[in-house]
């Protein structure tokens, strides 16, 4: 369980987060949604300790994260940002092996090799094991980075827009994998996501943010309603129930016509 308590952050005079409080239930998949500039990524980076908070506290299992040593923290929380600026030439296997750094500090043990194999087979990446990541497609690349994060074997996974620039097939693969991480391995996944349909169909819990505040949070059923989404994104939504789930249609906002 992650609790965020009265977080405040500003850059110069512009405040990005105003007294944000939220909780992220353990063993569930939580989506952080909201318009651009709402402070979703900022909040996620603070939970991952990649950004300093101005004031407020963040607790993981009742422990203040600033009390945890950074080397220990890496065994509890793994963060994956968008990886466009990654230019190193590593094979998929080498990259995934770096996910073991918090444990092995460089020399891999038998358990480390096991964890690497598990992560690779969890995402069915065996055929790409020896491929260099700079020669992969965007989707395969994202899978490789996710495998590295999975190999880190943390209870908490934080992902910043993991579906960015992916086609539908890879996006579904990634979301399914995240779902399985929660269901099969009881891990807690928090992700920033823009595709409301993926958020609605794959999450347990949703935290909606708007202009530096938490707009609302709760189960998918309570948050994903036409009124809520309209107020959040300021466009019309039509929510359709289908056999396999729900679809939020926002492609034809009525007001403008």
């Amino acid at each position: 369980m992650i609790h965020v308590n009265n977080i405040h952050k500003s850059y110069g005079t512009k405040s990005v987060l105003n007294n944000v409080s939220a909780s992220f239930p353990a063993g569930q998949l939580t989506s952080l949604i909201g318009p651009n500039g709402a402070g979703k990524t900022t909040l996620l980076m603070m939970i991952g300790r990649l950004l300093k908070v101005d004031s407020g506290e963040i607790f993981i299992n009742e422990q203040n994260i600033t009390d945890i040593r950074i080397s220990m923290f890496a065994k509890q929380v793994a963060t994956l940002r968008q990886s466009q600026d990654f230019t190193m030439r590593l094979t998929v296997e080498e990259l995934v092996a770096f996910g073991r750094f918090p444990y092995s500090r460089g020399s891999l043990t038998k358990e480390d090799h096991q964890a690497i194999d598990n992560a690779i087979s969890f995402l069915s990446l065996e055929p790409l094991r020896q491929s260099y990541i700079d020669e992969l497609s965007g989707g395969q690349r994202q899978m490789a980075f996710l495998a590295m994060t999975i190999a880190q074997e943390t209870d908490y996974l934080l992902l910043d827009e993991p579906l960015n620039n992916l086609d539908m097939k890879h996006a579904v693969e990634i979301m399914r994998a995240l779902r399985r991480l929660c269901d099969e391995q009881n891990r807690t996944v928090i992700l920033v996501i823009h595709d409301i349909n993926f958020a609605a169909n794959y999450s347990n819990h949703i935290v909606a943010m708007k202009s530096g505040n938490v707009y609302d949070s709760g189960s998918v059923k309570n948050i994903v309603t036409e009124e809520n989404l309209k107020a959040l994104y300021e466009i019309e939504f039509e929510i359709l129930q289908s056999k396999h789930g729900i679809v939020c249609n926002y492609f034809h906002p009525q007001e403008e016509f």
Binding site: L50, A74, A78, M88, L90, T91, F98, G106
Partner: protein, 327 residues
Amino acid sequence: MYKHTTNEKIYTSINMLFIGLLFFILCVISLLVGAKQLYLSQIMSFSSEAWLTLTASRFPRLMSLILAGVGLSVCGVILQQIVRNKFVEPATSGGLDAAKLGILISLIHFPTLGIVGKMLSTLVFCLISSVFFITIIRLIRFKNAVLVPVIGLMYGAILSAIAEFYAYQNNILQSMQGWLLGDFSRVVQGHYEIIYFIFPIVALTYLFAHRFTIVGMGETLATSLGLNYVGVTALGLILVAITISSVVITVGAIPFVGLIIPNLAAMFYGDNLKRTLPIIALGGASVLLICDIFGRLLLYPFEIPIGLTASCVGGFMFLIVIWKTKK
């Protein structure tokens, strides 16, 4: 499942063996080539004259060539990880010029301190200069990777200009030209031992190879993996400063070795330093040995300074690397 891994390892070890053999042959040639004729038969028959040449001049020269080559290429790769740019090395980040300035200051202001003063002053200048360079690069955030070495070369030129002006005012411009160009002909017993500093540096780098690779992944990813990013970066800069100082003090500035070798190694073996560092080290030493042997043979019995031959070879390779990256 491990089959591929083993193949990869065998492939790498065969290549290592090949590079090792080449390196060994180059070492033998380097020992036998020079203005004074030296034959294997003389060494075998323990001719005292031949042995004097060997121990007083040829062996120190060989050792300093190897260590300078290893040191410079390892420096290059550490800097490339820290700056996250393939084109950065001591010559394209102001490092070599800062070292020259450091030597100059110690010669003018602390001549009595001798080699210790020289080393300390050079170290301090290298460190300050590299921290300054990295700060500039971080602040500007270039979109185009090729701009970073351009800024580095300009920065180096400014440092060099300051050094030359200072040297001119103190009437030692002439002797300073000596350090501008790397030259191994000055290396003799008793005047090169400081270069052995590179031994522990390379050992430490290998020990920290994993950490330096992670530093190259960027601050966020490194922190997320539980690495003390600032600490490892600082350590890297200190290792680089010590290496550059000892190389420039003993043999002078040799540009581009730190750039071409890591780039070539990355093309064939990737960027995992734990795997590539031995190849990079041997490659750096071999390139310097080749440049030196050519420098000694082209105008025999005279010598072309290695700074010149290395610049020619290195500059050319630099262009090829930029061209390949552009493609």
